[in-house]
Amino acid sequence: MKPKNQRLVLVVAAVVAVLVAALLAMWGLRDRASYFYTPADLAAGKAVNGQAMRLGGMVERGSIQRQPDGVTIRFVVTDGQARTPVVYRGIVPDLFREGSGAVAEGRLENGSFIADTILAKHDERYMPPELGNLAAEHKAGKTLER
């Protein structure tokens, strides 16, 4: 191959690679990004059953019920406007408690949220003082300073 052609081929290959990356990413992001919802969003019918998502809100006081098997809990997440019942099987994070903020990862099934993971902020000092800051809590539980 002549050097001129070779350079052309390499440039084309690089451009194709970039396009492929962008297309693959768009395809993947279209149905694999999980959206962050509040109970009010769910009440307004913004989410579809079974879709992967995150739910954020305050754990309502007096709502945590431990199930007989000892490892499943039910509780209610609220944002002051609406309430969503959540079912979770597992060890809850250290700072998960009533009246505190929490983010659950999972999906909606027939009006209740089946959580696979619960994230709570590890450091009490940075807990949002009021519900208005809940948005800032998004992801915060997982984003550790390293």
């Binding site: 050097p3 350079r7 970039v18 999980s34 992967a52 000892g70 250290d94 450091d123």
Partner: protein, 641 residues
């Protein structure tokens, strides 16, 4: 006085960096000889930042609460090692570490560089100083680590207990060394683009820096993965968290650069492409620093509330990356054509490697930044996690792993021998592994199944470059390559087996009761209170039995008072064929305790593989440095490289 000394040293270093930039401009315009001067200045500048950093370590070690940073992030009751490590466990301290590594790397480059031409060296040192100057400005204007408090508070507010761990002392500095080591490659690329001297000599000068940085990045990522695994108590080794991606992206770019630089060094081809990768690799380091340090990850919202730091970093990022790419765009077309090569050749193999790595890098980059972009534009919140990255990047990584077995067998320029015959045995091994998974574990997911197959194939294929010759006479660089590629197979096997064969149990049991997981029967003997220097804990005593062997594990739930926090400390026991991972949770009103148990067969292979990859890099680096010591005439190097 200590803090003031540090601050003065930092100002002086900034001044010297500015002088370096002026000298470079002068030298490039007027051809004045400044090489010797600029080298000395770079060394002094590195020494000054080292002094500044040492001063910060000192105020942390002495728990000097009159320094605001110490007050915010330390506590007098902390163990000494964490007081010291706390220096870089916060924003200002870690940025100081960053800039220290940046200018010390510049100093070493100035001292050690023998292969670069004088003009390119001056340009590169100027570029390095330009980088440093921006980050000095960031520290001095927006993140002064030495700010004082008056009056001095009685005691500090403590360090996030999650960070109170030996992993913290080791992990961030390693990653930073890797991140910032790439700055030398960036500066060399910028310097060479300025002078137009992009050739195999430049590639050989750049290679040890890329290799060194890449080794440290590999080690840092592996250590970080293990840290997350045992410290978070979730049993996972990679979460596709943006902070993790921030370290993965420079690694991917550096891996591509490491391969393309060999083409430039040996064959003088892929000039523009290699220069672009050198620019991208360090740009990814800066993107990573921006993501982690600007607060943008906590939320775009928080970023907007405290805009000074984030905007400053973003501006630095935009200026440096923008300037480097503009320079590249202007100069790339003026570079001479590289040496030609045939379709089936080592060069083509490395081009494909580079394209695949770039595509994976693009996918990780878009997936990491997409949520920030969407939130900034529409305010909508979303997260992109494992489902996206595994599904989109996973298959490509597997394809790449298959080609890793092929590339090293090809020869430069053109391949005439029937190399693919050599791959018969490894391919048969892989197919056998696939058949075995169908018999033993019919329920495996497709990705883990293919992962095991490719891992088995690659374990065989990766050692072929040593098989076809006398292994003792192979160059160290070949040994390094083989070990690193074998490490990929090992890590891949660990990931696949962890994904396929992990068993998990979660239940509430009372003391005296047992729970079984995998081949293990675990007895909860008792739960007792215990205490450390600045924490109290509830500690479970578990007796795990498998056949005749008995192991005692003691997972804890720890309570820290400054700041008030709980963490769970998993107890992990390692065996040759896997790890038993135990976490104790909350007490039950009936007197039972939540226990979460995992049996993870061969999970340790993941980090063993990472360590092997780094070891391979280290051996190759030794080989390169040792080879260059033997004096060889230039024509011989060209012929045998």
């Amino acid at each position: 006085m200590i803090a003031e000394t540090g601050l003065i040293a930092l100002w002086l270093a900034a001044g010297l960096a500015a002088l370096q930039v002026v000298l470079m401009t002068l030298a490039l315009r007027t051809r004045v000889e400044v090489g010797r001067t600029i080298r000395s200045i770079a060394v002094v500048q590195g020494a000054l930042t080292l002094i500044a950093f040492a001063m910060l370590v000192l105020v942390f070690a002495r728990s000097d609460m009159s320094v605001a940073l110490v007050f915010e992030n330390s506590h007098s009751a902390k163990p000494f090692i964490y007081k010291v490590a706390g220096t870089w466990g916060n924003h200002e301290g870690s940025m100081l570490l960053w800039v220290t590594v940046l200018s010390v790397a510049g100093a070493f480059f100035a001292l050690l560089s023998r292969r670069t031409s004088e003009r390119t060296l001056v340009a590169a040192l100027g570029a390095q100083a330009t980088l440093a100057l921006g980050f000095y400005a960031f520290l001095l204007i927006a993140s002064n680590p030495f700010a004082r408090l008056f009056p001095a508070p009685p005691d500090g507010r403590g360090l996030n207990p999650l960070l109170q761990d030996p992993g913290l002392a080791f992990h961030p500095p390693t990653l930073y060394l890797g991140y910032v080591g790439l700055s030398v490659a960036f500066s060399l690329a910028v310097g060479a683009l300025l002078t137009g001297e992009v050739d195999s000599k430049l590639a050989r000068a750049m290679r040890p820096w890329v290799l060194g940085a890449w080794i440290l990045l590999t080690l840092g990522i592996t250590a970080g993965s293990y840290w997350a695994y045992y410290e978070l108590g979730w049993g996972g080794y990679w979460f596709w968290d943006p902070v993790e991606n921030a370290s993965l992206m420079p690694w991917l770019a550096a891996t591509a650069l490491l391969h393309s630089i060999n083409v430039l060094a040996a064959r003088g081809a892929l000039k523009a492409w290699t220069m672009m990768l050198a620019v991208i690799a360090f740009s990814m380091s800066m993107v990573g620093t921006f993501l982690v340090r600007s607060g943008i990850l906590t939320s775009v919202h928080a970023f907007a509330i405290d805009p000074e730091r984030g905007t400053f970093l973003l501006a630095l990022l935009a200026i440096y990356v923008g300037a480097a790419f503009t320079l590249f765009a202007v100069r790339a077309a003026t570079l001479k054509e590289g040496a030609p090569f045939e379709l089936v050749s080592r060069e083509t193999g490395l081009v494909i490697n580079n394209l695949l790595l770039s595509v994976i890098l693009g996918i990780v980059f878009l997936g990491t930044l997409y949520p920030l972009f969407v939130e900034a534009v529409s305010g909508e919140k979303l997260s992109v996690g494992a489902p996206y990255f595994n599904a989109v990047a996973g298959p490509l990584a597997l394809v790449l792993a298959v080609l890793v077995g092929v590339g090293p067998l090809l020869s430069w320029r053109r391949e005439r021998r029937p190399v693919f015959k050599q791959l018969t045995v490894p391919t048969l091994l892989g197919v056998t592994a696939l058949v075995i998974t169908f018999i033993l574990a019919p329920g495996m997911t497709i990705l883990t199944r293919l992962g095991l197959m490719v891992a088995t194939y690659l374990a065989g294929a990766s050692i072929l470059p040593l098989v076809r010759r006398n292994p003792l006479r192979a160059p160290l660089a070949t040994w390094g390559m083989v070990i690193a590629h074998f490490g990929i197979a090992v890590a891949l096997a660990g990931m696949a087996m962890n994904g396929a064969f992990t068993s998990e149990r979660l239940a509430v049991i009372k003391p005296g009761e047992t729970l079984s997981v995998g081949p293990w029967t675990v007895l909860l003997k008792d739960v007792t209170p215990t205490a450390g220097k600045n924490w109290t804990a509830l500690e479970g005593e578990l007796r795990a039995t498998r056949g005749d062997s008995i192991t005692v594990l003691k997972p804890q739930t720890r309570y820290f008072s400054d700041p008030p926090t709980e963490t769970s400390e998993a107890a992990i026991e390692t065996f040759w064929n896997g790890q038993l991972y135990t976490v104790i949770g909350k007490p039950d009103p009936s007197g039972g305790w939540q226990l979460r148990l995992w049996w993870k067969p061969f999970v340790t292979l993941i980090w063993a593989g990472g360590a092997l990859i780094a070891l391979g890099g280290a051996i190759a680096l030794l080989g390169r440095l040792w080879r260059r010591r033997r004096v060889q005439p230039e024509w011989r190097k060209e012929r045998y490289a």
